[in-house]
């Protein structure tokens, strides 16, 4: 119920704030400087909340939060382990990637249908197959910068190169593809997220965003078992990160409806 209310409010705000957009964001940047952590009076709190609602109104909304949760990721992950991921990492990861992409196409149709269309906007004339194909290809291309980030965050460079590349492909597809679909390639809309005052509240109120956030956190903390001396096959590089990312995507997606209700 609360969500619906918020939506209504934001719709009303949307019109007035279009012109003030640049000013408003400039303000946000300044007031959120953390050195001014003085006890905020109720006025500023209210103001911040209103600004956040504006942003929330501007990013795409979902019809049913539970529908966008990438349940198929669990299937792909389980399937890869079923087909002997621990014995032959590279082959199974590659085959898993192919299956992931084909399932992801179907998922994209579901996800696209799940985007709430604002009535104020004109008739939606998106070329859906182009959007879906483009998002798959873009997320594959985006695996290159993701690879660089993974390396900078500490992945081995000389050894396990293939594994790391496959890891970044997998993560890139499950991370960027849903985002690209739900934001329809609108980068500015996406960047609005980072201008919110309560950014984590915003992220967790949006199933796709919180699923992506879950992937990042999950992958990050997937490194924890690596140094342990249990010597299990699943401790091999990069399986712990992969599992962390996949599980994180589902947990993140499921957390969002819990938080919003």
């Amino acid at each position: 119920m609360a969500k619906v209310k918020a939506d209504k409010k934001s719709v009303t705000f949307e019109k007035e704030d279009v012109g003030n957009d640049s000013d408003a964001t400039g303000d946000i940047g300044d007031t959120s400087v953390p050195s001014s952590t003085n006890a905020k009076d109720s006025d500023t709190l209210k103001k911040e909340r209103e600004e956040d609602l504006v942003i929330q109104g501007q990013i795409p909304k979902l019809k049913y939060s539970l529908l966008t949760v990438p349940y198929h990721n669990l299937l792909v992950l389980g399937g890869m382990f079923y087909y002997g991921l621990t014995e032959d990492i590279n082959t199974v990861l590659f085959n898993g990637l192919i299956s992931l992409i084909s399932i992801e196409v179907i998922y994209n149709y579901v996800a696209y249908g799940n985007i709430k269309v604002t009535k104020k906007k004109k008739v939606d004339n998106t070329n859906v197959p182009l959007l879906i194909g483009g998002s798959i290809i873009t997320s594959i291309i985006l695996s290159i910068p993701l690879f660089v980030v993974i390396i900078i965050f500490g992945a081995p460079l000389t050894n396990y190169l293939q594994q790391t590349i496959l890891l970044s492909l997998h993560l890139s597809v499950i991370l960027f593809n849903p985002l690209l679909i739900s934001f329809k390639f609108d980068l500015n809309q996406f960047l609005l997220v980072f201008k919110a005052n309560k950014i984590y509240r915003l992220i967790f109120s949006h199933a796709v965003l919180s699923s992506s956030f879950g992937i990042i956190i999950g992958t990050w903390f997937g490194v924890v078992p690596i140094p342990l001396d249990w010597d299990r096959p699943w401790q091999q590089w990069p399986l712990t990160l992969l599992v962390g990312g996949y599980v994180g995507s589902i947990v993140g997606g499921l957390v969002s409806p819990l938080v919003t209700f």
Binding site: V33, P34, S35, T37, G154, L157, W220, P227, L228, D229
Partner: protein, 914 residues
């Protein structure tokens, strides 16, 4: 009263001192000296059970062997002798196939370092952990001598025998007066593979001739170990070295055959390694490769007595076990038996079953083992008391009684022996629980005190607004970090933890402050993250993963041209930093009054300071060049002329590196150069400080001091690690930029201090591990511990060892002062120092107090957890191999880094030099 800074300092000092005292008391209880029986053992019966003419009047005169040659090859792992992957010792293989040699895999008890191993091999005891440290910190310490302790060497000597020794001079430290003829070789030059061994072998001509008079000959070859340290087990030098050792064995064996034929004297040859080596050629810890030393008993006599049917070489065994596995200390009772003298008092070894067959009668075999049992029981009673006092071992006592009363079988004797051995070795040390718990309580109390003090200051004071999430983050950081002390593998892989924690802390910072960052900060973040990623790739650390090629190993082994370009670049960059970063050159401007604050090339001061800096860093660089050549590396072509010029200036004419005289002269040049460089740096420091005092010109003093000390730190760093300083400079610069961006408007000092302290703790540890250090004693680097030292002296060598291993932490400790007090200098901004904290003199004491408060919170929580973990896991399998070394490393961190450098050195710079 609580607000007075003096009172706070007093409280803080009490806390820090009690932290240190608590840790030291705990260490005293945790590493006690072990129970050692003094005096020499005699036979338990009137006659020797070992004699070949048993129960006859001549009993004590007829041993199985008349002479013994103990040939110790340092780091001789089992597979070097027995495996098909090292087929180089063909003569030994032939002996095994003929049955003349009885091969064993001998378990060498960790710490697998030479001194404790030699003690084990001679006395039969298991080493106390302290032996390992004393091997590093080394001796001149009379308590290390074994002349008063029972060992097979002294037992044999007591029979009036002559023992000669050639090889590693550690033996001479253990037995200073025992050997008749001796020649010790020093393992001073680790890069010397041939000279150390030639120095031993050259004595063989005389020793193996007919007129040599010895009953025991001990040879200790070091070359193999040196090859391992430098090039690993697959080094190209391995094959010729093993063949050389095989040749020595053949000479000794031929001699024994000749003695047998000519004089009917039987000579026993023992070929053994004192420890093994791991995959990269180091040793000290407890991996299978390090603990599996080879051991062979060789004599022409053996083939006649029994045929064990061994063949050699065998297929490679992944856990380095070939033939039967025995304890290395089993050598001691076996030698007693074979040479016929009483078993040394502190022996924990069991007579080797295969050798027992030399004595034909089973009743004599039983009495030999009974002798061994009696010796064990003496030791047992000394440790646990008599039967009445040690009732928890009632089971053992009943076994012992049944053994004494009835003539039990050989197997039953072994059963009892192994059981006592198990009990005695598993508790080689008796913990002193009073000290342990006293130390623990003091540590806990001081940690609680520092926690209260920290929370009171940051959370409940209300006068200053520190973001509470930062305060909590620092506490959570310390707690989560210190939880890793409870897992042995996490301690081994601590470098991974620090990399992860550094990134997490950076991400935490970024997630809270990214709104105040501008476009340029993306650049700084990239620089920062790339910098620490390069750091991570520089060296291998930890036990689990080791990469064949790291940046460091590539530079050192594959491409010295680039290495030296980078080293020279490092020297140039830091020299330029001294010149432009702080206030060094401005100090020398006597002629013109300082206007503004920018260095001007036309001023005389610039010229003087430039010359001074240039000369100092050139001397340092020359030292490194000479050291590089002296360590046996090939200098790049473009540096050879420089090298020749340097040594010519010292009046040394160039000869080949094999020439011992030349090497000796080079060593002298090295010593002088390194001293000269140290004096130059000290001189510059002195001039800078005194000029500052005289002219009341202190701008940039901290930066100058830390840059000058960095020059010395570079000198104390391994060659392949020197370019790391370039990376460190980049990290320092970007970190300073990032930290100053976390508060664009009003500076909140407490906030800066929290961020800086946690950043410094992370990066100190990260740099420490990325320079190739681990939490194992095997990686303590001694290659720069003798710079400028002619004779061994424990204090300077100890200080230099500390500096050369803790280069990174010291560097960052100084950098933390820079970032806190002179952040504009770190950002290379000359004229922007108005806001620097150093200008607010009244703040200095309280700023340093807050910094010390934060670090002592971290060290306090860590110490409590580590001590708690060690108490909890004191019977754990890895307590001596993982936890104890970590304890020592932690003590160095807490006492030397946190107290001496972070507190004392910082106070000297801030309050005395300023």
């Amino acid at each position: 009263m609580f607000k007075s800074i003096t009172f706070r300092w007093v409280i803080q000092l009490v806390i820090i001192v009690s932290q240190i005292i608590g840790l030291l008391i705990f260490l005293r209880g945790f590493f006690p000296s072990k129970v050692v029986l003094s005096g020499f053992n005699g036979f338990y019966e009137s006659t020797s059970p070992f004699s070949t003419s048993w129960n006859s009047p001549k009993a004590n005169d007829s041993p199985q062997f008349d002479k013994v040659v103990v040939m110790v090859v340092d780091a001789m792992r089992t597979d070097f002798c027995f495996s098909k992957s090292y087929p180089h010792m063909s003569f030994l293989h032939e002996l095994i196939n003929n049955g003349h040699a009885i091969p064993f895999t001998s378990f060498s008890n960790p710490p697998t370092v030479t001194l404790p191993r030699l003690k084990g091999i001679t006395t039969g005891g298991t080493p106390s952990f302290l032996d390992a440290i004393l091997n590093v910190a080394d001796d001149k310490d009379t308590s290390q001598g074994l002349s008063s302790q029972d060992s097979w060497v002294s037992q044999y000597k007591n029979l009036g025998k002559t023992i000669n020794f050639f090889g590693d001079d550690t033996w001479l430290k253990l037995f200073p007066t025992t050997f008749t003829e001796f020649d010790g070789t020093n393992s001073f030059f680790v890069s010397d593979f041939t000279e150390v061994d030639r120095n031993v072998t050259r004595h063989l001509d005389k020793q193996l001739s007919q007129d040599a008079k010895w009953d025991a000959l001990i040879l200790h070859y070091l070359g193999l170990d040196h090859i391992g340290h430098k090039g690993g087990p697959n080094s190209v030098f391995m094959k010729p070295k093993l063949e050389e050792m095989d040749g020595v064995l053949k000479r000794v064996y031929d001699y024994s055959v000749q003695q047998h034929n000519d004089l009917n004297e039987s000579v026993l040859i023992v070929l053994m390694g004192d420890h093994g080596m791991n995959d990269i050629g180091n040793h000290g810890a407890s991996s299978p490769g390090e603990t599996s030393a080879s051991l062979s008993f060789i004599s022409p006599k053996f083939s006649n007595t029994f045929n064990l049917g061994y063949t050699a070489p065998l297929d490679e065994s992944p856990d380095y076990t070939y033939y039967s596995k025995i304890n290395q200390i089993d050598l001691v009772p076996s030698l007693s038996g074979l040479l016929n003298f009483p078993i040394p008092k502190n022996n924990l070894g069991v007579f080797i079953p295969q050798l027992l067959k030399l004595w034909g009668s089973e009743s004599q075999q039983r009495s030999i083992l009974y002798e061994n049992c009696q010796q064990f029981m003496d030791l047992f009673i000394a440790k646990y008391g008599t039967e009445e006092e040690s009732d928890e071992y009632a089971h053992l006592w009943s076994k012992w009684h049944s053994l004494k009363e009835s003539g039990s079988s050989v197997e039953y004797h072994y059963d009892v022996l192994y059981e006592i051995q198990q009990i005695l070795t598993s508790s080689a040390t008796n913990y002193d629980y009073n000290d342990i718990f006293l130390g623990f309580v003091i540590t806990i109390v001081s940690s609680i005190a520092v926690l209260i003090s920290y929370n009171h200051y940051f959370l409940f004071r209300n006068s200053d607004n520190v973001p509470y999430h930062l305060v909590i983050f620092v506490e959570a950081f310390a707690v989560i970090y210190s939880l890793h002390f409870h897992g042995s593998s996490l301690i081994e892989e601590e470098h991974q933890i620090w990399y992860f924690f550094t990134i997490v802390s950076a991400a935490f910072l970024a997630s809270y402050y990214f709104k105040s960052f501008n476009k340029a900060s993306l650049l700084y973040w990239t620089l920062f993250l790339t910098g620490i990623r390069i750091l991570k790739a520089w060296n291998n650390s930890g036990q689990k993963y080791s990469y064949k090629v790291t940046i460091g190993s590539y530079l050192l082994n594959e491409d010295t041209d680039i290495l030296w370009v980078l080293i020279i670049a490092t020297y140039i960059v830091y020299s330029v930093s001294i010149f432009v970063q702080g206030g060094f050159s401005s100090c020398f401007d006597f002629l013109n009054e300082r206007k503004g604050f920018s260095f001007d090339v036309k001023q005389a001061g610039s010229l003087i300071s430039f010359i001074a800096i240039f000369v100092t860093s050139s001397v340092g660089l020359s030292f490194k060049i000479c050291q590089f050549y002296n360590d046996g590396y090939v200098l790049p072509r473009y540096l050879r002329l420089v090298f020749f010029w340097i040594i010519e200036n010292y009046g040394v004419s160039f000869k080949t590196v094999d020439n011992p005289d030349f090497k000796f002269q080079l060593q002298g040049v090295n010593t002088q150069l390194s001293r000269l460089s140290g004096y130059c740096i000290l001189g510059l420091l002195f001039i800078r400080v005194s000029l500052g005092k005289l002219r009341k010109f202190n701008t940039g003093l901290i930066t100058d001091v830390s840059n000058l000390i960095t020059l010395y730190l570079i000198q104390q760093t391994k060659f392949e690690n020197i370019p790391i300083f370039l990376v460190l400079l980049g990290i320092k610069y970007s970190a300073a930029k990032i930290i100053s961006q976390t508060q664009p408007k009003n500076a909140n000092i407490d906030q800066i201090l929290l961020i800086t302290s946690i950043f410094i703790i992370c990066i100190q540890n990260l740099t420490f591990f990325s320079m190739g250090n681990t939490n194992s004693l095997a990686t303590v680097d001694l290659s720069n511990a003798y710079n400028g030292i002619l004779e061994y002296d424990v204090i300077p060598v100890g200080v230099l060892t500390f500096i050369s291993n803790f280069v990174g932490p010291i560097y960052w400790s100084l950098a933390s002062l820079q970032i806190i007090f002179e952040i504009s200098k770190v950002r290379f901004e000359q004229n922007n120092d108005v806001q620097d904290l150093i200008n607010f003199k009244f703040l200095r004491k309280s700023v340093l107090w807050v910094k010390v408060l934060i670090t002592s919170l971290f060290y306090g929580i860590s110490a409590s957890n580590l001590i708690g973990s060690c108490i909890n896991l004191r019977f754990h399998l890895f307590i001596w191999t993982v936890f104890s070394p970590k304890l020592l490393y932690f003590a160095s961190w807490s006492i030397l880094v946190n107290f001496l450098v972070d507190l004392i050195l910082a106070s000297i710079i801030l309050f005395i030099l300023y």
